[in-house]
Amino acid sequence: MNHEVFMAGFGGQGILLIGNLLAYAAIREGRNTSYFPAYGVEKRGGAATCTVVVADGEVGSPVIGNPGAAILLNPLSMEKYFGRVRAGGLCIVNSSLIEESGDGRSDLRVLRLPLNELAIEIGDARLLNMIAIGAYAELTGAVSLDALKAALTDALPERNHRFIPLNVQAIDLGAARARAAIGAAA
């Protein structure tokens, strides 16, 4: 099974961190993976995007035209990438910043989550990326939530390991909101 996900947002929203986290989790599960960051000329405040492929077999292209899933954290990414998600795919949209509903595409599962508000509720605005990746893992099964949490020690620098419990909480919150959304839709 191949999972390709495209993640995009502002620099500083933690896109590259959750891209790395997903790749580390895949490695922990003994799967193959590629993490490909696209980077702007500017180091801070620009656009941050990355593509992660998780595969049981050989990873082919690290560059994907129409990914099976996307995590879009700001309006510009919505505008640029929403239309590229493959039919039948999944899109996690940060409704705190993105007004567009995504209703225009009936061929997608669209999960709108107010990520900024949710992050502030659990104590730190910076956790929005972890909520998003928790929801992604729950809905796609690309990696297990346990692997994702275990991979925090790989993806976070040593000095930030003290924040791991908070990140775990955020991943769990994302997963719970995703489950609730499925339940509501069912």
């Binding site: 790749a23 580390y24 993976t33 993490y35 082919g60 560059v63 035209g65």
Partner: protein
Amino acid sequence: MQKRLLVKGNEAVAMGAIEAGCRFYFGYPITPQSDIPEYISREFPKVGGTFIQAESEIASINMLLGASACGQRAMTSSSSPGISLKQEGISYMAGSELPGLIVNIARSGPGLGGIDASQSDYFQAVKGGGHGGYHTIVLAPNSVQEMYDLTMLAFDLSDRYRVPAMLLGDSVLGQMKEALIPHPYVAPADLPAKDWAVSGKDGRAQRVVKSLYLGDGELEAHNWKLHRKYQELREREVRCETAGLDDAKLLVTAFGVTARIAKTAIRMAREEGLKVGLLRPITLFPFPDKAFADATAVAKRVLCFELNTGQMVEDVRLSVARDADVFFYGRPPGAGSLPTPEELLAQIRKHYKD
């Protein structure tokens, strides 16, 4: 299970070099390869290596020339504009028969161009690059694992033939992360001793490392000697990856990152029932011309896919069977415009004939 690490391509190059016993690095910062000098500057002190951030690309290639002349495994790395500056030194190394590794994590051009992945340095890499009609050994990895493995191989080939080696990557391969299984370097038992290296004559005859030959007939003889080595490389050291050649009607060829895009496109085409094969050159010099001749005895249509407006396709045309048709698909790079597997699949459908 073997230890698998998630590693960035650039770092895999640095790890492979250190594992292969390289202890001399000379370079100058340039995007998108600066992870290599950054990694080496951090790790070399732990293994007694010498890292110098030189004043220029020109100085760094000449420092490499000096350390190599002393018989040491040494390297430099850069990206396209910097590789242009190094060409003078590479020509002198080729003329002086000095081994050494030059890593090009290529970006787009000409001129300052951009920092996007590009394969527009193919001609420069495989046709000599500098003056004087020489070749460097050119290896083209297509994964993080190969960035590691081929770095080691580059040192071995370069030492064996006394021909400078180039690892030709691009900014996708340099920046992407994949699983890497590190393994210990084992030097080939038959690597010749460096009995030409300078060390102070210390009782033996004088040794001179040079590329100037002014005596009657000397330079001609020297060039024939270099030519014989290039022929030997062509006969013995060609490497390529192939898949699906048994029944292929259409052969897709690509190197480096485009080969990865091609692999997914080929899988998609096979799912549609199209018989499509892959021939991926791993050595760009020596070029796998015989492999192309053999493959096109069966598959009469070849689609060459590059991240430029058509360079390797010229070597492909020279190599295929006479009745084979060669098509080209490629794009010059630019911000955010990497070709996708879906895009290549459309080209495969267009050129495919049962």
